[in-house]
Structures are given as structure tokens and as C-alpha cells.
Amino acid sequence: MSEWIAIGALGVVAVGIPLGMMAVSALLRPSVPEQGKRATYESGEVPTGTARVQFNIQYYMVALLFLIFDVETVLIFPWTVIYRSALDQGVGLMTVLWPMLVFIGVLVVGLVWAWRNGAVKWVKSPLANRQKTERNA
């Protein structure tokens, strides 16, 4: 358990140092309230509209892909840890390797599918857009 106490201690320090800096800064810095400088920065122009703009749907696609793949790494790590010792203890190569190859294979199929269906295509080419429109028409 002691290592986690130490890590917790670092966590405390890692919060404490920024807070200390903020405290120092609060003591040092001036405060001259003025409306103009509080304006949202839009390259010197007068800000327009809300900042919560709609953004590219692809961000969401990427997030989904990440969610899946990142969590799959959770399942890969236990395997990597035991892989070598299992081999050393005489478990057959295929017994330990095959399941993970299947697992990664399924993941790759999913990835390639997402790729081919444009989940990771950031900019759809005008040509592709036109084809889509024609087909739907």
C-alpha cells in the first residue's frame, strides 16, 4: 500500500504547487476591471454569436472509435502480461496467441469497416458528396 500513499502524496503536491502559484500570483497581480478587455477574443473583431458552435460530426465519430479501441487495450494488457510466462510454463503457442490474434483481428475488421465507411474521413471530397447525392436522389 505504501506506494499508493506516495502517489497520493504526489497528487497532493501536484495540486498544491499550482495552487501555491495561484496564491502568489493573486498577491502580486493588479486588478483593473474594464469591460473592453473582457470581450471574447475573435481576432480583434466584435464577437458574434455564441461560442458553442456546431462542429464537425467527425469529432464524435473519432470519439466513438476511441472509446472502443481504448477500452480494448484494457483487455489486451492482461494478455501481454501473462503471455511470456505462459509460454515459459509450456502452454502451447497457439493457445495463448490465437485468442488475441482473433481479438485483434475482429478489432481490425471493425477499424477497416469504419475506415471504409468514412468514419475517420475528415473531409468528404466533393466527388464523394456528389455521388452520395445522386444515389439518394
Binding site: 502451447g92 497457439m94 490465437w98 475488421v109 469497416w113 471504409r116 465507411n117 455521388q131
Partner: protein, 504 residues
């Protein structure tokens, strides 16, 4: 192939016992592969044929296994795989039979249903992945695999229900299905964690030996109750049934059929095994009387489902509620168990009912898909006079309705009879009585459909332009199946009861 052997210990058979599951999963991957190769112009025909072939192959293999006796007592008993996490026995094969045949009907019917839709490959693939999950549910021999496979079946289903994403009803249905599904899976997971806390294992057999004389009866009881909740969701039983009417009504009709028959059967498959194997009646502490819970659930579920169905104005919604009612009947399989009773008969009858239900209920929903395809409305009145426009399909629908109601000339009668009979045999004649009364009541609302189709005058002219091949084939297949299950019920019930008896 020798490399692919499961080498846990000598004499353990190959994982080829999982062939149906693997076939379904691989078919799903192949569908994705097809979609990869031609992402923009995926051929509906190719997809439908591939998925139908895949599911029928799986069906064939399952039937062959079942006939050949794989995993059954007469050929050396159940086959356990992967450190007892999965078990292939008669019961799992029997349920796999239900899943694969329903999947086949659904994908064939979807061929026409999806003609105007985009993302078809995804649809088929998700159906097959869900089916894969269901087969695993039937095989789960550990709470862990039960949970994982339940989710593998559920998660594609959420997406499938919300598949018509431009349609508000579909999205709403998907949302509700998902929300309640997520909650119940959390409840289920928490229940599993509590059981694990008291028993220190997730393998059913080990749990069973650990709960006997367990000290933390309270924790165990709460855990078991929560696990009951998880199954109640999957089987659309009280108290997690709220999603069912919405989801079935909003979802694409083939998916409604898929969920209400295959998915429900899967829930029962895993529930049967969990409660019989992990919490056997002889071993559980007295405070954890799950049979009583299931008795209450069965009575409430069937009554609520039937009464609610009787008040509906939309056919699909009526079927949705009736599906809840049928979950109540099937729950008798768990509610009428008793230490030393004819448990195999009870459970087997419930399984046989689920098989018959798989045909008649899927067929009914596919008929609705057909009607939706024609653009006829959704209420009973909209069905008026449908029989004169489409007599063959109407005959099939009539068969489904009467069979669901349990009228004698159809498969549903025998399965309900077997269920109630075995309940009486087990000494729970009041359960059978409640079931029979509900069943009689159900004739009222089922016959409304029949009456509308055959007897009422059509309100206007029907525009039945096309006779979609896939939908017709699937509906007729389901109809013939429902009919043939009357004379052919013998092998079904005998198989079901013998494989169920092997559990005890």
C-alpha cells in the same frame, strides 16, 4: 485443426461445439467485410442472402448437434469450454435453435423492409452479432459470461431499435430501450458483484456450492434479487418491462419480432441456467427464495401484459403487450420449480413454449412489417378488410393470432397446454389457472385483429402494389412452422424436457 484444439485437459472436446456461435459471428464479420469492399453500393440481395445462409447454416449445425446428441446425457454429458465459462449442452443447443431460426426469418424479411434504407450491411451485421450474443447467453456457465453475452446481445439491439433514425418513434423507442437496458445491466452487474462477494466465484457450480450455508444471506439475497431484475429486463417481464411497448412499437417491425422472440428467449435461457445451476433450490439459504419472486413476477407479468394488451388501439402495440404476457407464461418455467418436483418437465415445457412462440410471434411481427411495407396504418381499424386484398398473408396472420391465443388447432395450444400441464403436475395448479384465465382473455384482443382483417369492410381501397418476396417467404415459413408444430410438437417437447432434466 489440431492447433485449434482446446487443450485444457485431456478428453475435453474441441471448441467446434461452438460452431453455431462462430458461424453467426463470422457471418456478421463477413457482412462487414462486404460492406468494406463496396461501401457505397452494397447489394441488398448479397447481404440478405449471406446473412440468411449464415443463420441457416448455424441452424443446420445446431439441429445436427441436437439430433446427434452433442453435449447431452446420452453422449457423455455437457461439454464445458474455456475453464467452465461456457457449456454446450442440450439446453443451449435447443435455445440456439430458436435464435438461429428466428434470425433467419428476420433477415429474410428484412430484405424487403430495408430496400429503401441506408446502412443495410450494418443492420444485418448487428442482427447477427446480437444473435451471436444470444447463443452465448444460452451457453453461459458463469455469471461473467452471462453478463458479457447479455450485453453482446443487448447493445446491437439498442442500435437496431433506433435504426430508422429519421423516424421519431424509432429513436424514442431506441432511447427508452437503451436507458432501461443500461440501468438494468448496471443493476445486473451489481447483483453479480454481490453474489461474487458472498461466493468468491462466478462459475455457476462453484457459486452453488458456496452459497450453501453462506453467512451473508442478506447480501446474497439482494444480489439474487438484482440478478432477477437483469433478467426481467431482457425477458420484458415486470418490473423492467416498461421499455417493451415503446421499443416494439417504435422499432422496425422485423426487429420487434427479433427482440420479442429471440431476445426474450435468450433472457430465459440464461435465467434458467443461472437459477437452476447457480442457486439450486436445494442449496440456497432459506432467505433467498427466488421461486417466490418468480411466482409473483409470473402472475403479475402475465396479468398486466394481457390486460394492457386488451386496451390497445394499435396492433403492434397490442402485440408488444401480449409479448409481455407471454413472458409471464414462460416465467412459469421458473416459478413452478420445487425441490424434488418434476422440474425438468416444467422447464422443458417453458422452453418448448418459447420455441413455438419464436415462430408465431416472429411471424406476427413480420406480418406487421408486411403491412408497414404496404403503407397500411397501424390501428385495428386500418387492418379492416385486409384479407380480401392479401388472403394468403391474412391466413398466416390468423394462424399466428389464434396460435398466440392458444386455440387448439395450432402449435401455441400444445405448448401452452404442456406448460400449464407441467405446472399442475408440479403442484402449482393455481399458476396454471391464472395462466389459463389470462390465455382465455387474450383471445379477445387477438381475435380483434382477425375480425378486422376478415370480417370488417375496408374503409377505403388498399394500394397493395407489390408482393415482397422476402417478407412473404418469412411470414409463410413462420405460419407453416406454427402449423407443423401441432403434429410435430412431440419431438420438440420431448427434447426440451429431456435436455431440461439434464440440468437438475
Amino acid at each position: 485443426m489440431s492447433l485449434l484444439l482446446q487443450s485444457a485437459d485431456a478428453g475435453t472436446p474441441m471448441w467446434s461445439a461452438l460452431a453455431p456461435t462462430i458461424l453467426l459471428g463470422v457471418t456478421g464479420l463477413v457482412l462487414l467485410g462486404i460492406d468494406m469492399l463496396w461501401p457505397d453500393e452494397t447489394s441488398n440481395t448479397v447481404l440478405a442472402v449471406t446473412s440468411a445462409v449464415g443463420s441457416l447454416l448455424a441452424f443446420g449445425v445446431t439441429a445436427w448437434f441436437l439430433v446427434a446428441g452433442t453435449g447431452q446425457t446420452r453422449t457423455g454429458g455437457e461439454i464445458t469450454l474455456y475453464g467452465d465459462a461456457l457449456v454446450v449442452d442440450g439446453m443451449s443447443l435447443f435455445f440456439t435453435l430458436i435464435f438461429t431460426i428466428v434470425t433467419a426469418m428476420v433477415v429474410v424479411a428484412s430484405y424487403d423492409y430495408l430496400r429503401e434504407q441506408r446502412h443495410r450491411a450494418e443492420f444485418y451485421a448487428l442482427v447477427l452479432f446480437a444473435a451471436t450474443g444470444m447463443t452465448l447467453m444460452a451457453m453461459a456457465n458463469s455469471l461473467a459470461t452471462a453478463f458479457v453475452s447479455l450485453e453482446l446481445a443487448s447493445i446491437p439491439s439498442y442500435a437496431l431499435v433506433a435504426y430508422l433514425k429519421e423516424d421519431k418513434g424509432s429513436v424514442e423507442a431506441g432511447l427508452k430501450y437503451f436507458l432501461i437496458g443500461a440501468v438494468s445491466s448496471a443493476v445486473f452487474a451489481f447483483g453479480i458483484s454481490l453474489v461474487y462477494a458472498t461466493s468468491g466465484s462466478m462459475i455457476f457450480g462453484d457459486v452453488a456450492s458456496a452459497v450453501e450455508g453462506s453467512e451473508m444471506v442478506g447480501v446474497l439475497g439482494i444480489g439474487v434479487l438484482m440478478i432477477v431484475g437483469g433478467f426481467a429486463f431482457k425477458t420484458a417481464s415486470v418490473p423492467f418491462h416498461f421499455w417493451a411497448p415503446e421499443a416494439y412499437e417504435g422499432a422496425p417491425a422485423p426487429i420487434s419480432g427479433f427482440l420479442s422472440s429471440a431476445s426474450k428467449a435468450a433472457g430465459f435461457a440464461v435465467a434458467f441456467r443461472v437459477f437452476v445451476e447457480a442457486f439450486p433450490l436445494g442449496a440456497i439459504p432459506a432467505g433467498v427464495d427466488w421461486v417466490l419472486a418468480f411466482q409473483v413476477l409470473a402472475v403479475v407479468t402475465m396479468t398486466l401484459g394481457n390486460f394492457a394488451a386488451a386496451t390497445q388501439e394499435k396492433v403492434k402495440r397490442m402485440l408488444a403487450y401480449s409479448s409481455i404476457g407471454h413472458a409471464g407464461y414462460a416465467l412459469i418455467g421458473l416459478a413452478a420449480l420445487s425441490a424434488g418436483g418434476p422440474n425438468g418437465d416444467v422447464l422443458g415445457a417453458s422452453m418448448a413454449h418459447l420455441l413455438v412462440y419464436g415462430f408465431m410471434n416472429t411471424g406476427a411481427f413480420l406480418f406487421i412489417a408486411l403491412v408497414e411495407h404496404w403503407g397500411v396504418g397501424r390501428t385495428f381499424e386500418d387492418y379492416n378488410g385486409l384479407a380480401s386484398a392479401a388472403p394468403v398473408a391474412a391466413v398466416a396472420m390468423t394462424v399466428f393470432m389464434f396460435s398466440l391465443a392458444g386455440l387448439p388447432p395450432f402449435g401455441g395450444f400444445l405448448s401452452k397446454y404442456a406448460l400449464f400441464y407441467s405446472a399442475i403436475e408440479a403442484g402449482f395448479w393455481w399458476l396454471a389457472a391464472v395462466g389459463a384465465i389470462n390465455s382465455a382473455l387474450s383471445l379477445f384482443y387477438y381475435s380483434r385483429v382477425v375480425k378486422a382483417m376478415w370480417i370488417e369492410e375496408p374503409a377505403g381501397d388498399f394500394e397493395i402494389g407489390s408482393r415482397p418476396v422476402g417478407l412473404y417467404a418469412a411470414v409463410l415459413f413462420a405460419g407453416i412452422g406454427t402449423l407443423l408444430l401441432l403434429p410435430g410438437f412431440g419431438p420438440v417437447i420431448e427434447t426440451a424436457q429431456s435436455v431440461a432434466a439434464a440440468l437438475f
